[in-house]
């Protein structure tokens, strides 16, 4: 399936806050209560529609453990959006947000859209971080904010799509240089004005249009 744009996302945040579960819920629409620890980085993808345009989201789910921090830093530069996740039932994951944000701002391009996500909203009884606290933090640092539940799928779609909308608007405003792939944005194959089309490539393209 062809797309108008491709956005690269990263998901960051402390270990165990539910980053991989958010991705699985978004790409596969399922929840896996027992999940292995993410090693390094895992990949997922999904197509969404914004403004009647097909947009492909390429999502890189990073390991939250400190040991992988240096590896995951390699992913900041080329990402257009980041989901910064904490766990509303664990205060410490909220307290670490500043560190995460500094890290992200330092290594990413300045236009990267960051969405703050308080995950596990289904566990209201064990809540340690108030919704208002998340909102305040987001406002102070210029982030979008949302509380989600990867288990019940509440707000999961909205979080990913909301981030994409923000990026899309930035493109419309001309903030992003879409020809620079280092920004984490790619123009779809048929939309690209500079894409070289060799005769053989064109042939293959027309024949295999049904491919995934």
């Amino acid at each position: 399936m062809s797309y108008a744009y491709l956005f690269k996302y990263i998901i960051i945040g402390d270990t165990g806050v539910g980053k991989s579960c958010l991705l699985l819920q978004f790409t596969d629409k399922r929840f896996q209560p027992v999940h292995d620890l993410t090693i390094g980085v895992e990949f997922g993808a999904r197509m969404i529609t914004i403004d009647s345009k097909q947009i492909k989201l390429q999502i890189w789910d990073t390991a939250g453990q400190e040991a992988f921090r240096s590896i995951t830093r390699s992913y900041y530069r080329g990402a257009a959006g980041a989901l910064l996740v904490y766990d509303i039932t664990r205060r410490d994951t909220f307290n670490h947000l500043t560190t995460w944000l500094e890290d992200a701002r330092q290594h990413s391009n300045s236009n990267m859209v960051i969405m703050l996500i308080g995950n596990k909203s289904d566990l209201e009884s064990r809540r340690e971080v108030k919704r208002e606290e998340g909102e305040t933090f987001a406002r102070e640092h210029g982030l979008i904010f949302m509380e989600t539940s990867a288990k019940t799928a509440a707000n999961v779609e909205e979080a990913f799509i909301g981030t994409a909308k923000e990026i899309y608007e930035k493109i419309q405003e001309g903030v992003f240089d879409i020809n620079n792939e280092a920004n984490g944005i790619k123009i779809g194959p048929q939309h690209s004005p500079t894409s070289p089309t060799s005769p053989s490539g064109g042939l293959g393209g027309s024949q295999g249009s049904g491919c995934c």
Partner: protein, 856 residues
């Protein structure tokens, strides 16, 4: 003066010195001097000269340059980065020193020296960081050796260097950026660097994917003309293979990113077959097929493989591959790999299998591709590797493919014989192969057929209906019975092992098949005969093992339908004839054998020689599943059950008597009778007890005997263990000695190095002391020389003056002489002492007299 000269030469640089000392100084000394200069020189020009000289020596004296100069050169990378020229020399020098290959005229003993030097470099991460910083230098002269140097480092110590690069900020990204270099040569070199970088490191592989690695490389492949491109395409594909190896995330990324579709032009056969297959094209194609196989490998998680299989079909690659299989003029190795690729592209994927089942060869009449493959399979003139791959393809086609299995079995059933003459069916080919005289044909056919039954109770039953008429007059026999007959007559291990595997997969979990098998009076005796006959070699032992497994299956799935071989009877038979242990040993023969373990690992059998055709992967899987269950079944004791039933019937019979006899006399007499019989029984029991007591004593005696024996054995064991321990200790000692020797050697080497270093330190100290003096001396020298020059000049002037004065004097003398003669001629007396002088002057300046005269 000599001292001054050498002083000049030091200032001029190494070139001059090398020439002057080259005759008598060894390479090591020269290197030492150059390194010294590199460290001590304060002038950039001097360091550059030294570095240039070291670079030129680094090929011939790699060990010396590496051992002595490495630190200095590495320091240089941090200090003199601004000077491109010196950096180029430094990098080229390191490039030679770390070369994983032997340089020209090098002693093979120094092999691995490049790795040792790499270890030194990679011990300090800042060295790698400095190299990464240098990557920003755009100059061709430095970029090329730098890329090669990093390739060397990654080739020599992949893990260390990868880890350093991974944690270096933007390390991988900087290397990726090299791919965008507009200079083709640099781009190609950086592909080689990326291949070394991505080898077996999932984290780096993913970052490369994140950095649009697949896009960039695919673009290069496209620009180079796909399979018609040069070795660059092959390098690109090697990089792909690295990125996709054991990396589920990247495999998913590859599929999700629609990259599979972009590979399609690779598989288009040229319109003009005359173009042929140059070596590079064959190689490119081979690599490309391998990329596809990596995406659909049976070892991947099944959901990844299945999703990729769908992509392959959807974008037409499966179709292209089938065309390649059936096309003419494809080189054998390409064809083999293409068949394996088709195999994995459909293994377990129903749609793709169905598509494959419908593909027909463009022959006349058109034949299904499966028949074409089977014809190759049972043709012993075809290369073995091709036949193995064809078998793999057939297996993959039939894997979890009920319809495909049914189609094959159907061609064996009587109903299908009405097929028009001239057409060949898969059943015919398989049957011919199964009973042919050619051993590999037997084996291939048996294994292929077994896959038509795998996991399918229906096909196992259907195959029982197959009738064979071997000779015109004899009545038709079933396939199973014929197999048993052939097995009995055969003396070849390969045929037996093939057919027995086929039978195993037939009997597995199929009561009708087992019933049929056991009904043949020759089946069990044959197996027992196999198990009990002495084995002559490894392969015979394996035949024994498979025979044991077949008996085990008969036991485990026994339906108790054949009286002679019911479960109990079979157990008794085994106990009496072959003993349980022999059976379990037989099974152990298989699970221990390397051939079994090898086949278990991967569905594709890679046989180098026809005698490697032993175990099939599916058989191994089934064997693994049932081996322990069968052993468990054999060890389950059934005897107590029997005796328990006997004792209960006695009591019943007594109760029966009590109830039925009513009259008192009768009752009394009956009781008496009962008492009598009871007495008899008691007597019998007493006797039995006595016997048992005796036996008990006997047994106790035996137990005691055994206990003492056990104790003896225990002490023996302890002794043996002690022996073993001492032996092991000795061995350890030996090993330790050896390692001590090694260490000693290493120490000696290090001593030598230390000596050298000490010598160097000494020299350095000396040079330090001289160098502290030097400036003053040099100044003095220059001053003195200048003074000297002035003096000499003055001297010259004075000499000249003197000469002039002398000349004037002579002239004056001449004049005086003339004047004196004139005076004498005129009669004026002249003083004597003046005469004396005159005389002298007359002899001296005789010739000049005329001159004086003429002057006057």
């Amino acid at each position: 003066m000599e001292l001054f000269k050498s002083g000049f030469k030091t200032v001029l640089g190494g070139g001059g010195e090398q020439k002057s000392t080259g005759q008598d100084a060894t390479g090591a000394e020269t290197v030492e001097r150059l390194v010294e200069r590199l460290i001590t020189s304060t002038l950039l020009d001097d360091r550059r000269d030294a570095c240039r000289a070291l670079k030129s020596l680094s090929r011939k004296y790699r060990v010396e340059v590496g051992a002595q100069g490495m630190d200095a050169i590495l320091n240089l990378l941090g200090l003199d980065r601004v000077d491109t020229e010196i950096m180029t020399y430094a990098v080229e020098c390191l490039l030679n020193v770390t070369s994983p290959e032997l340089l020209d005229d090098e002693d093979p003993n120094v092999k691995g020296i490049g790795e040792q030097f790499t270890e030194i470099i990679s011990k300090k991460p800042e060295n790698i960081a400095n190299l990464l910083l240098l990557l920003e230098e755009y100059d061709y002269k430095i970029r090329v050796p730098l890329i090669r140097l990093m390739t060397n480092l990654l080739t020599n110590r992949p893990k260390d260097v990868q880890e350093i690069l991974l944690v270096s900020p933007m390390g991988i990204s900087k290397i990726m950026d090299l791919l965008s270099d507009s200079r083709e040569f640099i781009r190609n070199e950086s592909i080689l660097l990326l291949i070394a970088l991505t080898r077996n490191n999932a984290s780096i592989q993913k970052i490369i994917a994140f950095e649009n690695g697949f896009d960039r490389i695919l673009q290069i492949i496209q620009e180079e003309g796909y399979s018609d491109g040069g070795p660059v395409v092959e390098d690109c594909l090697s990089l792909f293979l690295n990125l996709l190896k054991n990396n589920t995330s990247n495999q998913t990324f590859f599929r999700e990113g629609n990259y599979v579709k972009k590979l399609v032009p690779f598989f288009k056969l040229p319109d003009d077959p005359e173009l042929g297959w140059p070596t590079q094209k064959v190689s490119n194609f081979y690599h490309m097929l391998f990329v596809v196989r990596r995406l659909v490998s049976p070892l991947n998680p099944s959901h990844v493989t299945q999703a990729c299989q769908k992509s392959l079909k959807a974008c037409g690659i499966l179709e292209c591959l089938c065309n390649i299989i059936l096309a003419n003029g494809i080189p054998s190795e390409t064809l083999t790999e293409a068949i394996a690729t088709v195999a994995e592209a459909m293994r377990g994927g129903r749609d793709n299998q169905e598509y494959f089942g419908k593909v027909e060869a463009p022959s006349d009449p058109p034949r299904p591709v499966l028949v074409i493959l089977l014809m190759t399979l049972v043709n012993e003139r075809q290369p073995l590797s091709l036949r193995c791959t064809v078998l793999y393809c057939i297996q993959c086609y039939l894997f979890k493919n009920e319809k495909g299995q049914n189609d094959v079995v159907k061609t064996l059933l009587p109903a299908s014989t009405e097929a028009s003459p001239g057409t060949v069916t898969s059943g015919q080919l398989l049957c011919t192969g199964l009973f042919s005289r050619e051993l590999t044909n037997n084996w291939f056919s048996a294994i292929s057929l077994s896959h038509a039954l795998l996991d399918s109770p229906t096909q196992r039953e259907n195959l029982l209906k197959v009738q064979l008429a071997t000779k015109a007059n004899t009545p038709a026999s079933t396939l199973m019975n014929h197999l048993i007959l052939v097995l009995q007559q055969s003396t070849k291990w390969q045929m037996k092992i093939g057919l027995l595997q086929f039978i195993s997969l037939w009997l597995e979990n199929s009561q009708p098949a087992i019933t049929h098998f056991l009904s043949n009076p020759n089946s069990v005796p044959f197996l027992i005969n196999q198990i009990t006959s002495p084995e002559s070699d490894e392969k015979e032992a394996l035949v024994k093992g498979v025979s044991a497994f077949v008996i085990g299956l008969c036991l485990y799935f026994n339906p108790n339908t054949v009286a002679a071989y019911s479960k109990d009877n079979l157990i008794q038979l085994i106990n009496n004839r072959i003993r349980m242990e022999t059976l379990t040993d037989g099974l152990g023969q298989i699970s221990k054998s390397d051939l079994y373990l090898h086949s278990l690992k991967h569905p594709q059998l890679l046989a180098k020689h026809s005698s490697d055709l032993v175990f099939d992967h599916s058989f191994c899987m089934v064997f693994k599943k049932y081996e322990s269950l069968i052993v468990l079944q054999l060890s389950e004791p059934n005897n107590p059950h029997h005796s328990h039933e006997n004792s209960r019937s006695d009591i019943n019979s007594m109760g029966h008597m009590v109830n039925n006899h009513q009259s008192p006399n009768d009752v009394i007499s009956r009781y008496k009778e009962v008492i009598r019989t009871q007495d008899e029984t008691i007597e019998g029991c007493k006797q039995e007890i006595g016997e048992l007591k005796d036996k008990n004593q006997e047994f106790q005696g035996k137990i005691e005997e055994m206990l003492t024996e056990v104790n003896q054995l225990k002490s023996q064991l302890a002794l043996a263990q002690a022996h073993r321990e001492t032996f092991e200790l000795n061995q350890q000692n030996n090993r330790a000695n050896i390692s001590i020797e090694d260490h000693n050697a290493a120490i000696a080497q290090k001593d030598y190095l230390i000596q050298q270093l000490q010598y160097r330190v000494h020299e350095l100290e000396q040079s330090l002391s001289t160098s502290t003096k030097n400036p003053i001396q040099e100044e003095l020298t220059i001053k003195l020389e200048e003074e000297n020059k002035v003096m000499v000049e003055e001297l010259d002037k004075m000499k000249k003056d003197q000469d002039e004065l002398l000349e004037l004097l002579t002239e004056q003398d001449n004049k005086i002489a003339t004047l004196k003669t004139t005076l004498r001629q005129n009669g004026i007396p002249v003083e004597d002492d003046q005469d004396d002088i005159l005389d002298e002057h007359e002899t001296n300046g005789h010739g000049s007299g005329d001159l004086g005269e003429s002057l006057l």
